[in-house]
Symmetry: none
DNA sequence: GATGAATGAGATTTCATTCAT
DNA sequence: CATGAATGAAATCTCATTCAT
């Protein structure tokens, strides 16, 4: 039974603030605009959130929570580890597409050296379940002898993240400098296929002997 | 014998503006600060660049040029394609490390939907030589039968770019949420080794049969 | 019973802006000064009028309205057309004296080629009732056989306007170059008598046969 | 034999300054623009004229001189006084048309309460010959019994001036508010005919008994 | 909870003028 | 006689925040 509650003022502000901060970044965002779009006077915004920065932190927290929720309503843990991995990647990918503000909020947050995220203890915890899922799938695959044994789950998540986010976060400059289309649905679908292949293939690969990082001369 | 010429005012402004815009983004940057750090009064900035936005575009153009220059003082084209690919990746990686402002300028530019880059015709052209190099290496590898034959060079560049940039661009939020260290030299080196392995392995892989993009049920 | 309401901020700004723009012209006027004299901070001015130019347009519109109102609280339409004409002229004259800013605002507006007035549709309409009054008096006089029959009301208004305004608008340069006094009350009164005589005499004159406009040699 | 001298820098500056000041007024004029259009650097302008204000005064003086010269290359003093009057008016009118900057310079100068003109002793003297001519024609007409005997030459000049200048000085606002055309050649020609008729008729009129200036009720 | 009016501090931009050569 | 580079002072405009109700 769907109950469509009238949104509280606080929620309305948060929705509009998310849009504004995502669209313009912290410095480009305008308190006036957020208030106007919420259909409220600025005072309410200060009443509930204390300051522009307070509102920004609230937006960030909500965004993290939303995206983690979306990533985690993901049940499959038994069965084929390769298939599980494929589904995990697809899941992370579609969670991002469902929360496009995340890209710009994270972008901007990194521009400010994580200043606001640093303060929030809640954000840290949100990642644990995701890391657990990744570890589980990797271990499962290793136990079955289909995945290589030297994968660090955190580094692996950074790898997934790179391949998932960057394409969106840099969509505009990449399109312009390379002359490719990254905005169509087809392009998004094929990108998912592409990165899934790369990541799975990497997991399935053999452990490689170490090479010197840069300008190595010789290979065995 | 190096002759250290006194920098012109214009150059000094550009240097300081690059720092300021990279550190704070367009909206957070302050014209006053740029002028003060250049040791000039604000007027000169307007004299040479017309407006804050004009200065920003100048900074962007110079940054693109610099980074492309760094990527291109790269001679090797003959020899082993696998080795060439490794060196290309290492080159792109170190070009980025040598131009860290690029990350933030691109970040910010994407936040503004490529508004400024769009105007600059020069920027587009800067990518052509890089794309040529990539194509050449890929073709060479395919001719020798060591690389798969279905790689689109532009998409491949997006892939490299993802793995190279994202880690830096999102360093702060990743460190905080995952609890990993991404700032040490060791971590940078091992990341290069990691992504090189992924990318090379992908190139060397067999052409894979197409799968449905999302939620596919069956594996061969 | 007159109730002297406290003026709103908007009105106070408008009053001071009128003074400032009339005294210094658009380019010479200072937003700071207007704000200070209104007893408000500059922001309010921008809050209510958007920009210096917006404020200027508001001032112009109000001035036109005021002056037209003053010209139109003028009832006489029946009776002696000569007397009506005398009163009309006196009315226009005293409306101007009661609104001395008008001279300078119009002066400046013409310097800018009517740029701002052009935008305002309201201003155009304000003149219609005045033109109607003039036409009526002229027709009435013609019907009675006391006025000549070839007078174009618009051109006649330009004539009145010339004789009414110019003396004030060019008061300073005329005083200096001719060495006359134009600032005393006596001088104003006798000027009104003078121009009334000229205008009435013109209306009463016979229709003149056309002459070649310039350098005509012969008169009948 | 026409000798086309190359204009000196000083002259070039003066020409461009006249245009700029006439087009924008003192406050709206830009020293940079004047220098640029003169094809010289700003320093020259300061070298020759000391300051923006100095340049403005030079422009004003030159303008007065030019217009008086044009008004005075007018020989006829004998003959028919009516015809002389017609020619005088036509002369003043065409002198103005030949020097259109004069309108705007005088406009602006009056806005500033004659501040600059006041300083210049030369300007005052320039009017004397013109006043002499007017007086002469009037006296001549009075002697012949064709002109009324109570005309003050200075006031008469103010009257001519009103009818000649105002139409041009207020061209834009008049056109807009009245919906008439004042810019065509035809309209200019017919205006001259119009004002000539008015002025001549006035001169030829009988001396009128005095009336109370405003709101007089009845005359016997 | 809610608002319209107000503001201080600071942002970008402009411009007449001068300095060094 | 000429200039390119530079500037101090001040202009217009912006914006997060608070006050009074």
């Amino acid at each position: 039974m769907v109950e469509r509650k009238k949104k509280t003022s606080k929620e309305r502000i948060l929705v509009q603030a998310t849009r504004e901060f995502a669209a313009k970044g912290f410095d480009g965002a305008r308190v006036d605009r957020i208030a106007a779009k919420s259909g409220l006077s600025k005072n309410m915004l200060y009443h509930w959130f204390g300051s522009k920065e307070g509102l920004y932190v609230a937006v960030l927290e909500q965004m993290y929570e939303t995206i983690r929720e979306r990533q985690q309503d993901f049940a499959l843990r038994g069965g084929d580890p390769v298939e599980a991995m494929r589904q995990l990647i697809a899941h992370i990918y579609s969670a991002l597409i469902a929360t496009p503000e995340a890209i710009w909020l994270l972008n901007d947050e990194n521009l400010h050296k994580g200043k606001h995220v640093k303060r929030s203890t809640r954000i840290r915890e949100l990642y644990n379940p995701l890391m657990d899922t990744i570890s589980e799938i990797l271990t499962h695959g290793q136990d079955q002898g289909v995945f290589r044994t030297d994968i660090d789950p955190a580094i692996f998540y950074v790898t997934i993240s790179s391949l998932v986010y960057h394409r969106f976060a840099n969509q505009y400059t990449l399109e312009i400098s390379l002359g490719v289309d990254l905005s169509s649905q087809a392009s998004r679908d094929s990108w998912l296929a592409h990165i899934t292949e790369i990541l799975v293939r990497y997991c399935q690969g053999e452990v490689e002997e170490k090479r010197l990082p840069i300008k190595a001369k010789k290979t065995a």
